[in-house]
Symmetry: C6
Subunit: 192 residues, 6 copies
Amino acid sequence: RYGQADTEDQVGVANGLAYTTVGGDTLQIEVSLSPGKGKLILTGKLGDVMKESAQTAFSYVRSKATELGIEANFHEHHDIHIHVPEGAVPKDGPSAGITMAVALISALTGRPVRRDVGMTGEITLRGRVLPIGGVKEKSLGAHRAGLKTIILPKDNEKDIDDVPKSIREGLTFLTVSTMDEVLDIAIGGSNK
Amino acid sequence: RYGQADTEDQVGVANGLAYTTVGGDTLQIEVSLSPGKGKLILTGKLGDVMKESAQTAFSYVRSKATELGIEANFHEHHDIHIHVPEGAVPKDGPSAGITMAVALISALTGRPVRRDVGMTGEITLRGRVLPIGGVKEKSLGAHRAGLKTIILPKDNEKDIDDVPKSIREGLTFLTVSTMDEVLDIAIGGSNK
Amino acid sequence: RYGQADTEDQVGVANGLAYTTVGGDTLQIEVSLSPGKGKLILTGKLGDVMKESAQTAFSYVRSKATELGIEANFHEHHDIHIHVPEGAVPKDGPSAGITMAVALISALTGRPVRRDVGMTGEITLRGRVLPIGGVKEKSLGAHRAGLKTIILPKDNEKDIDDVPKSIREGLTFLTVSTMDEVLDIAIGGSNK
Amino acid sequence: RYGQADTEDQVGVANGLAYTTVGGDTLQIEVSLSPGKGKLILTGKLGDVMKESAQTAFSYVRSKATELGIEANFHEHHDIHIHVPEGAVPKDGPSAGITMAVALISALTGRPVRRDVGMTGEITLRGRVLPIGGVKEKSLGAHRAGLKTIILPKDNEKDIDDVPKSIREGLTFLTVSTMDEVLDIAIGGSNK
Amino acid sequence: RYGQADTEDQVGVANGLAYTTVGGDTLQIEVSLSPGKGKLILTGKLGDVMKESAQTAFSYVRSKATELGIEANFHEHHDIHIHVPEGAVPKDGPSAGITMAVALISALTGRPVRRDVGMTGEITLRGRVLPIGGVKEKSLGAHRAGLKTIILPKDNEKDIDDVPKSIREGLTFLTVSTMDEVLDIAIGGSNK
Amino acid sequence: RYGQADTEDQVGVANGLAYTTVGGDTLQIEVSLSPGKGKLILTGKLGDVMKESAQTAFSYVRSKATELGIEANFHEHHDIHIHVPEGAVPKDGPSAGITMAVALISALTGRPVRRDVGMTGEITLRGRVLPIGGVKEKSLGAHRAGLKTIILPKDNEKDIDDVPKSIREGLTFLTVSTMDEVLDIAIGGSNK
Ligand SMILES: [Ca+2]
Ligand SMILES: [Ca+2]
Ligand SMILES: [Ca+2]
Ligand SMILES: [Ca+2]
Ligand SMILES: [Ca+2]
Ligand SMILES: [Ca+2]
Ligand SMILES: [Ca+2]
Ligand SMILES: [Ca+2]
Ligand SMILES: [Ca+2]
Ligand SMILES: [Ca+2]
Ligand SMILES: [Ca+2]
Ligand SMILES: [Ca+2]
């Protein structure tokens, strides 16, 4: 059923957490590579802030390519497509930044993303992780989708105690300040 | 008569199902290739969501090219045009995603699409098939156009019993979760 | 006088039929080639649907180039301009599709178009001809301009008896379902 | 004084006739060539119809280059700029079409334009000249600016008798149906 | 203090005169060259008319390059940026045309612009100088900024006697009809 | 905690000062380089004036590359991304101009920026520094974020005495008229 955790770790897909007027939800970020010339294609009815966030995640990955074990010139041979189903639902905001970076790095390194991990956080060009909103609702959505581990920005630590106890006990919360920490958790055997 | 099932299986054409304020209808997705440099041209008064859906279908096909038996560098030598007649009628939504993917794959492999099959479903970049609306109306439209088999997303299975019995008996409903299953049904001799 | 049938068959020009609030009219579609790189230029205050219709006609011609006796790589050496005088009058709709295809094919093959033929019909990417509106008014306009033969979509056959008898007698109506049939009528010695 | 006939025949400049709410006026069309790659630059606060008219004039010239004595590949080595002073005054409509074609051909052949000639007429892609409005007002403006000869579309012949007799006697009216005729009058020694 | 005459003649900078609702002002036009491919970059919250004026000045310079002592192919090796501080203040109109041409020519030839000269006038593609508005207010602004010489279009000669006598006596007014005359005044040792 | 001074001098990051309706704030300008072709990418919900300011800073750096110790052709091998977190907060105005120039130069030379310095000022294409608003509020924001030194435009000197004494005593104010002076302060061992 779409919206439930996958049954296997996959490459080029990561679980984000969304916060809508009707409550929290998960959203999967999909990344695919095709032979091409470095074009970045963004689809899924994304608003301007979310598109800029994708571009920031992409530049982060490009500028750290060597460090991340990615061929430095991958952009000369590939187009990159980031898609966020469901295509008719408008999405916006910077909080999927780290999720898009994880899905990109997975696609470019071939290393799978842990399927039981959900994550939310704004990314900066240097790979810092900035706070986001809706921790309580997003946690409920993650729990409902069967996720086990939630990555949150360090500056959102104070919001964890707002999550109902019953939910909190079924989830592991990990807080981070940098993309390095995100990758250590989300991508097995990361070498960055 | 336009809008009726073709009398022969064809290459680069697939039957989609639409759902308008005046009921269900079929719509044919046409794909043509020309010598070119990989441009994707989209016409037929398509809304933004439908255009993004086409782009997602296109990236799915490009990223799976080898697997699908398509020359990996076809985009360097061809422009791809996806057109949805009738050109003055506005169309939108993600539900033609799998139909556009089928028409693309048919055009690129030269394998014909079964002319008696209609299909509806959102496609994701990985080739997952997500649920859509209007199953009842689309089924009526498919029946009226003389189609025999309907491909639906697995998550729409529960909507089949809303189709009037008389119509349901004249149609075979097949539900799918992935593009692989769609291709097994719609394109004869698919090797993916 | 502009708007009257030409006195000689010409290359790169075809007679379309328009239907405005003040009645039917003819409109000439002009196509010119220049040394270039395959750009398609569209002028004449054309609306979006008409522009997409031109693009569809262009892709049809490109994908059938060899079959039509056109050098497959013409787009690498030429820019194509489609212009519809009179430049200050807004025009829209898909019904000039087959006329634009005929003018394009004439320009690219050097074969003249029959100057006494007017035509109207939506074109699809595969070269099917779909029905249009305003048959009665367009016939009056064609008659007034001195045309002798009218090409109509097969699905508009039923509208011919709405044309006043006196006009109908001065015109030959030919109905078609495919561009092949259009070319057999409009372009002398077509080998399509 | 700007707006008065030049005192010498010039290359790349032609006199158009405009018709504004405050009466007729002349407007000079200037064309310059620079080393470049075939870009067409249009300035002077031109409306969409006037821009399309410029493009049509440009394609006419490109498609007839050899016939006009212009190097066929000039667009590979030059950018073309068409400017209509005065830059803050909005201008629109198709009636400067033949004037822009004349200025272009003059710039590309190096042959000067007769400085005492004013002209007005819509151009088509094939070089036909279509009728325009405001003959009376434009004639007054031309007379005021010191022009001696006016080129008008053949279909505007009937409007000449609306020009006050005193003005008409100071001007020679020449009517034309094709660009060939325009060039014979406006450009000395044209070989078109 | 910004807005005061510079203390040395500089390359790539020229003093324009502006006319705002709160009176006259000077504005400096800055031009810089960078290794590049001929892109023209325009910044400083410029309106459409002012942008077109910049483009016209640029084409004038390109088409006269050899005559002006500028390498004919400079555009193949350089990007050109024209900036008008102060970046948050909207600016428009054609009257900075000659100032932009002077700053461009200075940057491209390396010859400094006289720092005590202010100038205002619309430029045409052929280098003619057309009249502008606000002579009185602009003169006051120039005087306040410490400028000594004002270049005005010939057609504005009649407006000089509207400038208060006390101001007029501190300024030298020079009127011009062509860019050649502007360059003789503004750029030392110009060979135009 | 985001918004506090970094604990180490960094490359490609500089502290700007912002002035919002709810008071002063700091904002970090991040710059990253990736293998590319000279594209300038700007993100962080920047308004048009701020984007033009970034472009002006970029052209300043490109035109002074040699002087600044930067490889003259860096733009042929790199794309440059300037990002201003927090991505959902709209930002505009020219006052981050010098900060963007500093971050760019740091990224391109590899020389770190002093982490205890905050700066605000409009940049011109020649590297002049123009006055800005909100000195008082920006100083409060800088103090709150733990910065020690503030770079201000010379023309803002008069505004320093509006900063409350207690704050003023914890900060060093340095005023400048040119980018050379900014670099001497902000980038250690600058050879500008
Ligand atoms: Ca959902
Ligand atoms: Ca709390
Ligand atoms: Ca239909
Ligand atoms: Ca049900
Ligand atoms: Ca007409
Ligand atoms: Ca009938
Ligand atoms: Ca005038
Ligand atoms: Ca009359
Ligand atoms: Ca000022
Ligand atoms: Ca006066
Ligand atoms: Ca903040
Ligand atoms: Ca003060």
